[in-house]
């Protein structure tokens, strides 16, 4: 039995507040371990004036169902308590949190592995696209071969 909480939102979020609520929920569900990953918008030090903003586009409808399937797949592979995936879209500025994954399990190995798996799949199987804006213009972020290669670990 796994509680899956998927959130796709343009609103900013406070990772501490979210993790605190998740930890309470996990504890109540009998978990002994919580693992959390938070992704942040990094500045582009090489770019003239740095990154002014990042815009994330997504595919409403498919995004939620893809994240749900990835989380359900994780719950079949490991013994998990609650799972949370939050991903923002819209305009973000450097240092802002983009996304968070939190997993819970009785012992830490399941939660660590599940969080790692969720991140690998989320990066190249959930329909999000990042565009970076600098003084020189706007560029779509290219997918990395290493992100695709990372999936082979889980097959």
């Amino acid at each position: 039995m796994s509680l899956i909480d998927i959130r796709v939102q343009d609103a900013a979020f406070d990772p501490g507040v979210l993790l605190s609520a998740f930890t309470t929920l996990a504890a109540q569900a009998g978990a002994g371990a919580v693992v959390c990953f938070t992704g942040l918008v990094r500045d582009l030090p090489g770019a003239n004036g740095g990154l002014s903003k990042m815009v994330i586009e997504h595919y409403p409808g498919m995004t939620e169902s893809a994240l749900q399937s990835i989380a359900e797949e994780a719950a079949t592979r490991w013994s998990l308590g609650p799972v949370l995936i939050l991903h923002r879209y819209g305009a973000l500025t450097p240092e802002e949190p983009i996304m968070m994954v939190a997993t819970a399990s009785a012992h830490r190995a399941d939660a660590f592995l599940a969080a790692d798996f969720l991140m690998d799949y989320l990066k190249s199987r959930a329909p999000f696209w990042k565009k970076e804006f600098t003084a020189e213009g706007a560029t779509w972020v290219a997918a990395k071969d290493s992100d695709e290669d990372a999936l082979s670990r889980w097959r």
Partner: protein, 81 residues
Amino acid sequence: MDVLYFAWVRERIGLPKERVESSAATVMDLVHELSAREDRYALAFSDLTALRVAVDQQLSDFDAPLAGVREIAFFPPMTGG
């Protein structure tokens, strides 16, 4: 069916979504139909290795059949996280 475009595919074609009446049997047939319409489509579809396709919101392949399909989306490889 509805055809959706995301990221640079949307920018290159110039719209996010359109209704397409087509008797294309597969995604690839639809790509050929669209590419024959106008240069902006041909340009967007010029390198299919740079594109991904979703059929009814499930990641799919260019040889997927289109019978009964309501929604197709074309986009570049995803960059979430």
